[in-house]
């Protein structure tokens, strides 16, 4: 894509200026929390693989579901208007919670855009939780073979569903910790998967979000928490966000990014989903 009409110097290469203009016109997927969006430079980036890890119960699945909903925010309200693929390896996808988060997202949209009734009626009709749920493609994966199969199959699937803008895998770790006897093989298979995911992210212009678990590692004389799957895997992602407890609050720490500095931001999990931390936060539950 040479901007001045000269033949390209290297076939398949892109010059940095063009890349920059492309990046600047990219939309980001909001996480629901303004603070986390800020440390991420606007939100989750398309065309990149982002890894999100944390201890059990800190909110990884909540954030995953929030992103699957937020990617669908219509373009006229500042979103991407895309669909989501949710690959569930642990069975933590609770559909009533997804409905709740969809409702929360819609209520926030209507709050920020109070004159939406003036817009086309079709736009209004889109703002129903059922529509948001209908645009999440869900795969339930029960073994690492199926996990490999679904990632391979994604290329064909995405060719048929061109409006998918995010692929979430929750969690990428579970099956790979279960029954891999040969660790060296595991590393090779994982690196094959991560290359494929990066390729998919770039080719189909979507965000890939991988949720990871934690494990303990003995370094510097003591046990510390670290993300699972080993050192070689930690090279596979472009961005890494770690969710942790800091006192009584939940924090997100940007651990790895090609262009942004490391930073922390507080967030909260409320009845409506992932939001900025406020002084009083409580989740309300509705029995359906």
């Amino acid at each position: 894509m040479a901007s001045d009409g000269d033949p390209p110097v290297l076939a398949g290469a892109q010059n940095a200026w063009d890349m920059l203009s492309e990046e600047q016109s990219q939309k980001h997927i909001t996480t629901g929390s303004g603070n986390i969006n800020n440390i991420l430079g606007g939100g989750i980036h398309c065309k990149e693989v982002t890894e999100i890890g944390g201890v059990p119960g800190v909110g990884k699945t909540q954030l995953g579901i929030q992103l699957a909903i937020n990617v669908q925010i219509p373009v006229e309200y500042g979103g991407l208007g895309g669909k989501a693929v949710y690959i569930d390896t642990e069975g933590s996808f609770m559909v009533e919670r997804v409905y709740q988060i969809a409702e929360g997202c819609i209520s926030d949209i209507l709050e920020h855009f109070p004159h939406s009734h003036e817009k086309s009626s079709s736009g209004q009709r889109k703002l129903q939780p059922e529509h948001f749920l209908a645009d999440i493609f869900y795969f339930r994966i029960c073994s690492y073979t199926e996990q490999i199969a679904v990632i391979n199959y994604l290329e064909k699937f995405l060719g048929e569903h061109k409006d998918v803008r995010i692929v979430i895998i929750d969690s990428v770790t579970f099956h790979f910790r279960q029954d891999f006897d040969d660790l060296a093989l595991r590393t090779r298979v994982l690196s094959g998967l991560s290359l494929k995911l990066m390729k998919i992210a770039k080719a189909y212009n979507l965000a890939v979000v991988l949720l990871n678990q934690v494990t303990t590692k003995f370094t510097e004389g003591s046990f510390q928490l670290t993300l699972a799957l080993g050192d070689s895997w930690s090279h596979s992602c472009t961005n890494r966000l770690i969710l942790y407890w800091n006192g009584n609050e939940r924090y997100a720490y940007l651990d790895k990014s090609p262009s942004l500095p490391v930073a922390s931001a507080p967030y909260a999990v409320t009845g409506k989903g992932v939001r900025d931390a406020v002084s009083s936060n409580c989740k309300r539950v509705r029995v359906m």
Binding site: Q62, G91, E96, A134, N152, L183, T216, V287
Partner: protein, 364 residues
């Protein structure tokens, strides 16, 4: 799906022959190999290997559903997908009760009431639907010989006097609860495998494992080399798959152990905090759940039973649907009873900590 035979996949004939000739008979065989190795095994070029992988992947991939279809399915199956515990505050916090199709963990120090809770759940599941039960059988795997039928009938009689007064009904209800006493991990494994078949045939509606930690302590985990046949992980996947495919709730109890300095609970970037907090934390009698962090990741709902300030509490420590709340409770003749239906909000990581102060928790 992983063991789906290649022969059933309807691959193009030349690929099917090639894979069969090289003894790659299941999806797992084909997909476990990185591309380059597959090329070597098949003795074929890259396009052929890629085509094989693409076809096998498509066949082995589970079907896609939209979240809306999942919701409609859940509504169609009815019952809200929950087993109500009859502890109103807890049920409300959990969105109706113990979730069906997921793994729920009950963890706490010994003597606090975990088995009492399980006995109550077993009674509830055996009851007919008009009384809020699941009208089915219950499989109770009792690894520490704590199951007491007398206590269970006492709980039944005091909670539902109208049913249990009639002896024939009491016998029928009690008859629905099948108790297994595996003496070792091998017995447990065998029992579980047997169960996969019988669950559907015999209308089992609840599986309770009391306790998981006791089984694991029988095996010396560190002695088993590497990852081969790691028993806990196998049991974990199996329990989750039973829960999901038979669509029943699975409740597992867990023990606690004291916190050692080796419990890494900080990330490397939190190093500054670690030294400051350590002294304060060591004075509290904090405990941690046994079975490790991998287990903690895998359970969907975690209920922590703890005691402090002279009271016992049930805390909803991990649940995709619930706020972090704690309920004070006591154990009486009809089982567990909440002292407050409104939960106490618990902020921060305290919801996951387990406390057991020096008081004799058995003294009531």
């Amino acid at each position: 799906m992983a063991n789906m035979p290649v022969s059933e996949m309807q691959l193009p004939p030349h690929l099917a022959h090639l894979l069969a000739a090289r003894r790659l008979t299941t999806a797992k065989d084909v997909l476990s190999l990185p591309e380059v190795e597959l090329m070597a095994v098949l003795d074929a070029g890259l396009p052929t290997a890629r085509a094989a992988v693409a076809h096998v992947s498509e066949a082995a991939c589970p079907p896609c559903q939209t979240a809306l279809e999942l919701l409609e399915e859940r509504v169609r199956l009815g019952g809200g997908g929950r087993l109500a515990t009859t502890l109103c505050g807890l049920d409300e916090a959990l969105g109706g009760g113990i979730p069906v199709g997921k793994l729920t963990e009950v963890v706490g120090p010994s003597g606090i009431g975990k088995t009492q809770f399980c006995l109550k759940l077993a009674t509830l599941a055996a009851l007919p639907e008009c009384y809020g039960g699941l009208n089915g059988r219950v499989v109770y795997m009792d690894t520490e010989s704590k199951f007491s039928s007398r206590r269970m009938i006492e709980i039944g009689q005091n909670s539902f006097p109208q049913i249990f007064r009639q002896e024939a009904l009491a016998q029928k209800m009690a008859g629905r609860i099948l108790v297994m006493r595996p003496a070792s991990l091998a017995d447990f494994t065998k029992g579980l495998e047997q169960m996969k078949v019988t669950l559907l045939q015999h209308d089992v509606k609840l599986l309770i494992v009391d306790s998981m930690a006791a089984l694991m302590s029988l095996e010396n985990e560190k002695a088993t080399a590497g990852f081969r046949h790691h028993p806990l992980r196998w049991a974990l996947s199996f329990l989750k798959s039973i829960a999901e495919f038979s669509r029943i709730p699975v409740v597992v109890t867990n023990q606690v152990r004291s916190q050692s300095n080796d419990d890494g609970y900080h990330f490397s970037f939190e190093v500054d905090r670690k030294d400051g907090n350590n002294c304060a934390e060591r004075f509290d009698s904090h405990l941690v759940a046994a079975l490790g962090i991998q287990w903690a990741h895998a359970v969907t709902v975690r209920l922590v039973f703890e005691s402090h300030s002279g009271h016992r509490f049930i805390k909803v420590a991990k649940s995709p649907m619930s706020p972090a709340v704690a309920f004070p409770f006591i154990v009486e003749s009809s089982g567990i009873k909440l002292l407050r239906e409104e939960g106490i909000d618990v902020t921060g990581p305290e919801i996951t900590s387990i406390r057991c102060q020096g008081q004799n928790v058995l003294a009531q």
